[in-house]
Amino acid sequence: MMLTIENLRVDFTVDSGIQRKQTLQAVRGVSLELDQGENVAIVGESGSGKSQLFNALMGLLPPNGSAHGSVSFNQQALLNQSDKSLNKIRGKEIGMIFQDPMTALNPYLRIGKQLTEVLEVHEGANFNKESAKRRAIEMLDRVKIKDPEQRFNSYPHELSGGMRQRVVIAMALLCKPKLIIADEPTTALDVTVQTEIIRLLKDIYRKERTSIVLITHDLPLVAGLCDRIIVMYAGKIVETGTVDEIFYKAQHPYTQALLAATPTNTEKSGKMLAIDGQPPDPLNLPAGCAFSPRCAFVEERCKTESPPERKIDAGHLVSCFRENN
């Protein structure tokens, strides 16, 4: 296994200044494994903890966040390591793409500097300014940026949102990482640009065989790109399976609701479906299954007990008491 996450928990200490400090459980015991060359999507609403999961393993949690459990990447422990040891992996073995390209790039530095510095810190003594510039320009070309030589000397604000996201992708790819974590890479972009970025990611995956973890709330986006889908709700994995298993044999009522709420389903019923109720308050999670207050098939025990993970097929797992949906 390339990446093994075992029972990862992420907590935040919340201080409103009014009440006692509270602990917010963003991720509540997540385990998952990822093989070299595998392509996975993590799907969930905002607040489901899907981003915090990966921020935790990259050591990017804000100061009030803490992570527990164990994570190993190619036999190396990742969780709660010093910045120094993490920096041998961050940007080199694992690349990251962020949600908002408008703010992910430093507005005060030229694109070229922000690209080549990745090579500067990871190649140490082998770093050569000229070859770094050449490789950065090649990479800009690779992510289909026009006039890469000219763009190399641009400032971020001189580029459009889609272009900036391409720069961020180029930045993540420069060191040929084994894994790329893409955290909602298209959410902040226009719809037409979204498709281009997804096409680019697909192309990268096909050519470089780099594993991609795509974090998104947009289920249909995932279909063409990923092998496996992991559905998260309120900090827990509720269902895992292949694209086909999730799309055609979804077991968890939340996954089903999510599928029903996608825009492609509007034609059938004529109106857009939404999931009833509100996502749970992370400071005040319901006992038992977190989805129970919104679940159409809720039973008495759902309100008190957490449903265990159940195997449907080899790779198809679901956490729900209800069988044979």
């Binding site: 990017l60 804000p62 961050r90 690349g95 990251m96 962020f98 992910a104 430093n106 005060y108 510095e117």
Partner: protein, 304 residues
């Protein structure tokens, strides 16, 4: 860029103009002042006044003359020091005041930024609270309280430093410290707030995700966004340090502009006070101008 510079310089002219205008009319309309025709003036001075201020001409013409003179750097003769012009007095005091001021600004920047960075990086730790507590003290204790305390400690009790006089480096130590303490505190607070805010920026997270060491993240990615707000501090700081220098020069008996100014105010030396106000106004406007131009130069997003 050049056109922006030109525009910015042009926009600061009205302010200077307003200062000079207010100065002119205040000096003219002051009740019981030197231009109050009710009050008899010695013939010799009257002749002098007439020569310099063209008192027999209509007011707008007088104003024109005054404006012209000020533009030439001539603020007229002092009322109390008969042998000096105001410009001479300012020129005399300027080297002292500018040395104090520049040293204070330099010291505030260096120590303030350093303390602020330390506090921000150790947010909510004991060091942070200590630095911020000291900063609060520095901002709260007025310089006219701080100066006597320091004089008492370093001058009287321990005899380490001279408490008055001018000429050697040791004479500058206490005045510069008194002048810069509140500014060090201000800079430290600003730097801390600014660095904390910058470190929460998404692009800092990007830099971390790229595997950049903390040192490089601070020096390359966080420095400019953190220090730009400090740059705008320079404007108000100039005003504050000028104000402070008035107190410091009085307490330590230094021959700077500030002491002339206070003596002028206490002696009702109208032309001297006026001249110093216009001069200070000019300095502050100049500093604000410099800050804006530097800002434009350092922030690539500002369009000219």
């Amino acid at each position: 860029m050049l056109s922006y510079f030109a525009k910015r310089i042009a926009s600061s002219i009205p302010t200077l103009f307003i200062i000079i205008t207010i100065a002119f009319f205040m000096i003219r309309l002051a009740p019981g002042g030197p231009f109050d025709s009710e009050r008899p003036v010695p013939a010799e001075i009257a002749a002098n006044l007439e020569k310099v201020y063209h008192l027999n001409d209509p007011l707008p013409v007088q104003y024109g003359y005054y404006l012209l003179n000020v533009l030439k750097g001539d603020f007229g003769p002092s009322f109390k020091y008969h042998d000096f012009t105001v410009s001479e007095l300012i020129a005399q005091g300027f080297p002292v005041s500018i040395q104090l001021g520049l040293l204070a600004i330099l010291l505030s920047l260096m120590i303030g930024v350093l303390l602020g960075v330390i506090a921000a990086l150790r947010q909510n730790s004991a060091i942070d609270y200590l630095v911020m507590g000291l900063a609060m003290t520095g901002i709260t204790i007025p310089n006219f309280v701080m100066a006597p305390i320091l004089i008492l400690l370093f001058g009287v009790f321990w005899g380490l430093l001279p408490t008055s006089g001018w000429g050697e480096l040791k004479h500058m130590v206490l005045p510069v410290i008194v002048l810069s303490l509140p500014q060090i505190a201000t800079v430290a607070r600003m730097t801390r707030a600014s660095l904390i805010e910058t470190l929460n920026m998404p692009y800092i997270r990007t830099a971390k995700a790229k595997g950049l060491p903390t040192r490089l993240i601070l020096s390359r990615h966080a420095s400019r966004a953190t220090l730009l707000p400090i740059l705008s501090w320079l404007g108000p700081a100039t005003a504050a340090i000028i104000t402070g220098s008035v107190v410091v020069e009085t307490i330590f008996g230094l021959p700077g502009i500030g002491r002339h100014f206070i003596n002028g105010a206490l002696n009702r030396d109208y032309t001297l006070v006026m001249g110093v106000v216009v001069f200070y106004g000019f300095l502050i406007i100049l500093m604000n101008l410099l800050v804006d131009l530097l800002y434009a130069w350092l922030d690539p997003r500002i369009k000219y």
